[in-house]
């Protein structure tokens, strides 16, 4: 059995907790599907780590809601917040279930790969080549989300992983990018990473 982390009340704004839970739960789903698609144990393990984090956030959020409610009206108003937070928690559990499939070698049927080439939101994994214009740029300089509708959800650098990289994170030559987005954007990213396209339109 894993160690259980002691949980202690911290005064964190409910809004901040909820934003983080929403972001993490959605990121986890994409990471989990990526771990299945690209047979990555590391990504699957990260998903399980994040799941623990979301569990903690959910408990902190519950405590903060309890303190915020002074009367029946507050309680009614905050019930919606509580429902949304448990939904985000459920979603992170679902992501962990995918990670479990990967980590326990249950098997990824060829139909899964086929299906992932047809879903609306695509996942892609590309290595950044030497002559790629992505190399040595910060994510916020590249603005991939607004320019090509693609979000980098993880970067593998050698044996290290950067999960949910921030704008200040720099892409280096040799990095492996895990991205999700619209099909055309994913294709564009592939060409940019390989260096076959060196243009990034505004």
């Amino acid at each position: 059995m894993d160690e259980w982390e002691k949980i202690e009340y911290k005064p964190i704004p409910v809004r901040a907790l909820l934003v983080e839970m929403k972001n993490l739960s959605e990121l986890m789903i994409d990471l989990a599907y990526s771990s299945a698609l690209f047979h990555s144990y590391e990504l699957a393990e990260d998903v399980l780590e994040l799941e623990k984090k979301v569990d903690n956030l959910a408990l902190l959020l519950k405590m903060n809601i309890m303190i915020a409610a002074r009367d029946a009206k507050d309680a009614e108003d905050l019930l919606g917040v509580s429902l949304v937070s448990s939904s985000a928690d459920k979603i992170s559990d679902a992501a962990a279930d995918i990670a479990y499939i990967v980590l326990h070698g249950i098997g990824i049927h060829p139909a899964v790969r086929e299906a992932f080439e047809r879903v609306e939101e695509r996942l892609g994994r590309f290595q950044v080549k030497q002559n790629s214009i992505l190399a040595s740029k910060k994510l916020k300089e590249l603005r991939l989300a607004s320019r090509i509708g693609v979000d980098i959800i993880a970067i593998r650098r050698g044996r290290d992983w950067i999960i949910d990289p921030k704008g200040s994170d720099k892409i280096l030559q040799g990095d492996v990018l895990i991205a999700r987005g619209a099909p055309a954007g994913i294709d564009e990213l592939k060409e940019l990473a390989q260096g076959t396209s060196r243009e990034l339109e505004d």
Partner: protein, 190 residues
């Protein structure tokens, strides 16, 4: 397993995954826009998911696999369960609006502030989207935002590639927060 059966399984899995994620986006939209119609759409999709999931499981189980292949097929079943779990979570979230709970300002702000957000915009006469089909408009490629639903007068339309966008339509879209401004500009025409 013959090719036809394989294709059916792939089709069902694609629909399960896309529907579960659409439900999630619609559920968040229903909260931001305080829209019982959208929340009801989520509940209807949940029923559709249940049917779809059963059909998917039957397809997988009737594939005639060997004992060696059973692990791969178990993986398929489990993935189906995951999409169902996500759909349940979305349906639960839609309840916030259906139970007429007041959308707490914190909730609205949290959804709007998140990395992936939902938003709406009215298509103006001069918008380049006016008169284009969803496919021609290439909104996802241009802005990274997906059209989830269209409100035309009192009707809700689930967009298909062939759906034509008209002036006055309210487009409900989800995507990365960075694309929101571009999306609003496309719709307003300036």
């Amino acid at each position: 397993m013959d090719e036809k059966h394989f294709k059916k399984i792939v089709d069902a899995l694609v629909e399960l995954k896309d529907t579960s994620e659409l439900m999630l986006d619609l559920a968040y939209s229903s909260i931001i826009l305080n829209s019982p119609e959208l929340a009801r759409e989520v509940q209807e999709l949940e029923e559709h998911m249940d049917d779809l999931h059963t059909r998917f499981e039957l397809l997988v189980l009737s594939s005639g696999f060997t004992p060696e292949e059973s692990k791969d097929f178990l993986g398929l079943i489990r993935l189906g369960v995951v999409t169902e779990e996500i759909a349940d979570a979305a349906a639960k979230m839609g309840e916030v609006v259906l139970r007429r709970l007041k959308t707490h300002p914190v909730l609205k702000l949290a959804v709007e502030e998140a990395e992936e957000t939902v938003t709406s915009a009215i298509v103006s006469e001069e918008s380049i989207l006016n008169g284009k089909t969803i496919k021609e408009a290439r909104i996802a490629d241009e802005t990274g935002m997906w059209i989830l639903a269209i409100r035309r007068g009192k009707r809700w339309i689930r967009p298909k590639p062939s759906t034509r966008i008209e002036a006055g339509d309210v487009l409900i879209a989800s995507g990365y927060a960075e694309g929101e401004e571009d999306f609003k500009r496309l719709a307003s025409g300036h």
